[in-house]
Symmetry: C2
Subunit: 327 residues, 2 copies
């Protein structure tokens, strides 16, 4: 900046005035300054600016499980969109379900003085965020609630979703329904299992633990689980899958078989409608989650001091065929 000032023959403060569009600079002077800026390729240092002004850094942080997963990248996209409208950039990091990594990323973002943070919790302990939150940094948790702090949270109706799935399958005559879910330390997994159980009760079906297999799941473990529930003395005639990845594994395993059980998957996914049979899913909108969470975050940044909110977004069953099979 002082280089620019020297070249334009003005003081550094005048350059500052020009780059900040402050009034009170003679047009001819401004012209000279702009020319100098252009010639030197000067770009003001936002870090220094933020330091001096004590103002926001213009960034928000986002910790999620895996940007590579279409579900989370959909969320990311929506968050980016809302952030743009509010003039903020987004720092992202993937935790890979590792609580330490989540913590590391979140604290790193704090040190960078993000204006706010969106977190898809990997672990159950979030006490480490309390000092920041007390210092005024808003945090919104997405997809899963925080372990041990009260904070804004955006969830989908996990329980309602699996209740719907079971009801749907039961209404098509299934009474032996299996559930393949994610690892039980993941909030959404246990909620969906709970909904599954509740759905069984409401539909008057016996809840059979032998038909439940909780992850972590890869293709092989899904194959094993499927073999088990289908090879049972009283085999399952339908399966509810706990998330999009498990559904995909399941589809790949089922591709080789002829005795395909009915299937309802939690989470919608691209091309589900073009498979044979098309896959019935519990759909919810990833971008809606991102949008709701980001908007909640920005309302906090705009001074909304109301008590922490818990937003639960609705899910809907999209019947496509795979769940309408009769046993």
């Amino acid at each position: 900046m002082s280089d620019v000032a020297r070249l334009a023959g003005v003081s550094i403060k005048t350059v500052s005035r020009v780059v900040n569009d402050e009034p009170g600079v003679h047009p001819a002077t401004a012209e000279r300054v702009l020319a100098a800026i252009d010639q030197l390729g000067f770009r003001r240092n936002l870090g220094a600016r933020n330091l001096r002004r004590g103002s926001s850094t213009g960034t928000i942080g986002m910790v999620l499980e895996d940007v590579g997963n279409p579900f989370y990248s959909g969320i990311t996209r929506a968050v980016e969109e809302v952030s743009r409208q509010h003039g903020r950039q987004v720092l992202t990091g993937s935790s890979d379900e590792d609580p330490n990594r989540e913590r590391e990323l979140a604290l790193e973002f704090c040190a960078r003085r993000v204006d706010g943070m969106l977190v898809v919790p990997a672990g159950m302990q979030h006490g480490y965020l309390v000092p920041e939150m007390r210092a005024g940094m808003p945090v919104v948790f997405l997809d899963r609630p925080a372990g041990d702090v009260v904070a804004d949270t955006v969830l989908v109706d996990n329980i309602g979703g699996t209740v719907l799935a079971v009801r749907h399958l039961a209404s098509h005559g299934h009474s032996r329904i299996a559930f393949l879910g994610d690892a039980p330390d993941i909030f959404t997994a246990t909620e969906r299992l709970r909904g599954f159980r509740e759905g069984c009760v409401r539909a008057g079906i016996r809840y059979d633990e032998e038909l439940v297999s909780m992850g972590p799941h890869d293709e092989r473990s899904v194959a094993d689980a499927l073999r088990r529930v289908l090879g049972n003395r009283q085999p399952a005639t339908a399966v509810v899958s706990g998330n999009n990845r498990i559904t995909v594994h399941l589809l790949r395993v089922l591709a080789g078989r002829t005795d395909r059980p009915a299937l309802v998957g939690f989470d919608d996914f691209e091309l589900a409608d073009l498979l044979n049979p098309p896959i019935t899913v519990i759909a919810h909108d990833a971008s809606a989650i991102g949008k709701a969470a980001a908007e909640l975050l920005f309302s906090r940044l705009d001074g909304d001091g109301s008590p922490p909110r818990r937003v639960v977004l609705p899910v809907r069953l999209v019947p496509r065929g795979s769940g309408e099979v009769r046993p």
Copy 2:
């Protein structure tokens, strides 16, 4: 920091020494300082630190087309991974193919003093980056080359890919092959078209402009284009699709028809193998692109001053069925 110093009864410099693990602090003193830090929830301001040290900001910027697109989110994930190994955070932004937005994002990242930048070009003019590059900021372009600057670039073998696709279809007896590509101002689109043409020549097939439709494409325009090439006096018996989104649109359009042409799609996508018929694709690895680009960037940051490189990653044809149909 001065609060911490006051609470611990030391000078602010001593606190600095403690947080930086500098030698020359009495263990008992360090203990007191750490306790004070913990009690106050102090987190050092990385912005100020970087300003003072004139060191790297520990961030890299990444401008891409749309994080929500699985192809780019795969790249993002790989970039994140490599960046983590090099101790950097990643700022991302989606340009939506808008050159102005790309420029805006890139300059914003520059103002934040990112250590380096990865750019999927939306436009053809990148002169605006020259000052930064001259000032030592490495930039690597991905998926498409920069318009008017010489710089590191990571591409896939677009031409080779469509040549392969045409050869494959021709070897199954097709001689009337259509090409549905993206907008011609997108580098990959014209390259793939060029490969298509070249493939026709090599296979001894007549290249017929009436069978080519360049986008931008949505589902409706794909349907129109398909109707045109199939309704031709000499209808196409096979289609090459120019990218994953066009392929998906095409699949949705084709779902209703019985006279399905053979199909080879550029870009692999999840579940392509589970469709009926399974979709033959020109596959390349999104994460390999991200990894290669990020590693190139970090090698520049580590001082590699060799001339700009152009890395072209191989593609391969994955035969699955949709391309093996006979006319």
